[in-house]
């Protein structure tokens, strides 16, 4: 069958080595019965294959693939090995991602002092980022806020000490929920505030009922948490009727934060011109501000950085009755005579 031109391979190989290799040429003859059996088996397999895949069904099964392959892809010599490789890759991918899914699911019950807690926060953040509708975002934030509250309750309940980080995280979660509520349509905002308010009140009650472990640190943390919730409840109460002002305040604060970030990145010598007393006012806190921390009396333009603002600046915090500190913007408002720097004062 095959035309073979024999070239003397001895010219290419050491004769001794060739002799050794030639020893393999002598092999026992194949048993004729086995040869016949093998042939019969092969033909039987061929018949079965032909029956299983007729010309028509073969075209139906793989004809479309061949047409695409012939146009777009190179022709593969073997099919099964490729499928085997592909199957292996798919299996690995499934195991890796399946494993990650299990880990993320396990992380959902983790506590702040546990290893998987950061994964829990990451999954929450990812979920929130992937959600586009404002309603869904608010609902998610509400759910996450409840999680933070439950975590605090669990820590208190187990006699643990609440770290500042946990309180701050809870506070940020509430603030995020308020911000997302303000992203809702105007008619939905009061309802969302009401919802959040009810939830915070329930949590406040729970925090009052739960007993701390008696240490001064634990007591201080609990008091701080309750005060923080109380502040938010006041914001929500006022915001229900006047959420437009709250929204404006937040926008101004965001703008100022952005500007501060830009100034921070300004080269030395071109520093910020913002002085204390120019901030948009922080609606979230009643604490003492530090200079330059944007707790100013709103959009005042006065240069007096040391004087106490008494005008009701637009950016002033309307949610507190506490004594204002210099540049804090927490003035009681309703002053007839605007003081220097209080551009927003009523005339």
């Amino acid at each position: 069958m095959r035309k073979r031109v024999h070239m003397n391979p001895k010219n290419e190989i050491d004769p001794s080595l060739h002799k050794k290799l030639k020893s393999l040429q002598t092999i026992p003859t194949r048993a004729p019965s086995k040869a016949v059996e093998g042939r019969a088996l092969f033909l039987k397999q061929a018949e079965e294959t032909a029956r299983g895949v007729t010309g028509t069904s073969k075209r139906r099964h793989i004809g479309w693939m061949q047409s695409i392959q012939s146009k777009l892809l190179f022709r593969r010599k073997e099919h099964s090995p490729m499928f085997s490789t592909f199957g292996t890759i798919m299996l690995i991918v499934a195991l890796v991602f399946g494993g990650s899914g299990v880990t993320v699911a396990a992380a959902q019950n983790s506590m702040p002092d546990q290893l998987l807690y950061n994964l829990k926060l990451l999954s929450e953040s990812t979920l929130l980022n992937l959600t586009s509708s404002p309603e869904s975002q608010f609902n998610l934030a509400l759910g996450f806020e409840t999680r933070r509250a439950d975590e605090i309750l669990t820590i208190f309940g187990s006699g643990g000490v609440l770290s500042a980080e946990v309180v701050t995280r809870f506070q940020n979660q509430i603030d995020q929920a308020i911000r997302l509520a303000l992203n809702l349509s105007d008619d939905q905002v009061p309802q969302a505030f009401e919802q959040l308010q009810t939830r915070l009140q329930t949590q406040q009650q729970s925090f009052i009922q739960v007993q701390a472990n008696g240490s001064s640190t634990a007591e201080a943390a609990m008091i701080q948490t309750r005060e923080m919730i109380q502040e938010r409840l006041q914001i929500l109460e006022t915001g229900k009727n006047n959420y437009l002002q709250l929204r404006d305040q937040l926008q101004q604060q965001d703008q100022l934060n952005n500007r501060n970030q830009q100034n921070l990145s300004t080269p030395a010598g071109q520093g910020s011109q913002n002085a204390p007393g120019r901030g948009a006012g922080n609606p979230w806190t009643s604490g003492t501000p530090t200079p330059g921390s944007s707790y100013g009396p709103g959009s005042g333009t006065g240069d007096c950085v040391t004087c106490t603002p008494s005008g009701i600046g637009q950016g002033g915090n309307p949610y507190t009755t506490g004594t204002p500190t210099p540049g804090s913007g927490y003035g009681p408002g309703d002053q007839i005579t605007p003081m220097p720097g209080g551009q927003g004062g009523r005339k």
């Binding site: 069958m1 026992p28 093998g38």
Partner: protein, 189 residues
């Protein structure tokens, strides 16, 4: 005339014509058996190799794949891959002299044993080569193929085949002839 006949056989095989398939088996089956037997040294394994080689060929046809030409090279490549897999799966087989040594009128039993040991040594040496080197050496120097045909079986150009051959022979020479040289040196001393 070889190529058209092979084409005819392949054409028939694609339509599952049993005559063509039978002819393919008759033509290439014995050679593949010998090839497997030489490398594996076991008739059962060699039979398995032949059966699997032709089964894979059928499977390729069922997916409308398989060779367009060079059927022999294609079948030997399948067989060679099977043998390489077998090498990976299991260690070299031990001797079973009672089965391997057949009564012979021409040779004495000790000569038979010596021959078997020599064959075993060559097989062990071949196992140490890379898959490609082994295939080149066996096809060239045991099966007697030309470089061009070996190139088709491996899907490589002749230059690459020559390089593989050179490296393979060099390794074999070191493995198989070193002992002889050392023993001859010792006897001279």
């Amino acid at each position: 005339m070889n190529s058209p006949t092979e084409q005819d056989l392949l054409k028939g095989a694609r339509t599952y014509d049993l005559t063509s398939l039978g002819a393919i088996y008759d033509t290439y089956g014995p050679g593949i058996y010998r090839y497997a037997m030489r490398l594996l040294g076991d008739d059962c394994l060699a039979e398995d190799c032949v059966a699997d080689t032709f089964e894979r060929f059928l499977k390729a046809l069922s997916f409308n794949q398989g060779p367009e030409n060079h059927l022999q090279a294609y079948l030997y490549r399948i067989a060679h891959n099977w043998i390489t897999d077998n090498y990976r799966r299991q260690p070299p087989l031990a001797y079973e002299l009672d089965e391997l040594i057949l009564p012979s009128e021409q040779e004495l039993p000790e000569e038979e044993v010596e021959k078997l040991i020599a064959m075993h040594q060559v097989r062990l040496a071949l196992r140490t080569l890379t898959s490609d080197q082994r295939q080149v050496v066996v096809l060239r120097f045991i099966e007697g193929w030309e470089n061009e045909e070996v190139g088709k079986a491996l899907g490589k150009p002749i230059g690459a085949i020559k390089a593989l051959q050179h490296r393979g022979l060099e390794s074999l020479r070191r493995l198989l002839l070193q002992d002889e040289k050392e023993s001859s040196h010792e006897s001279q001393k």
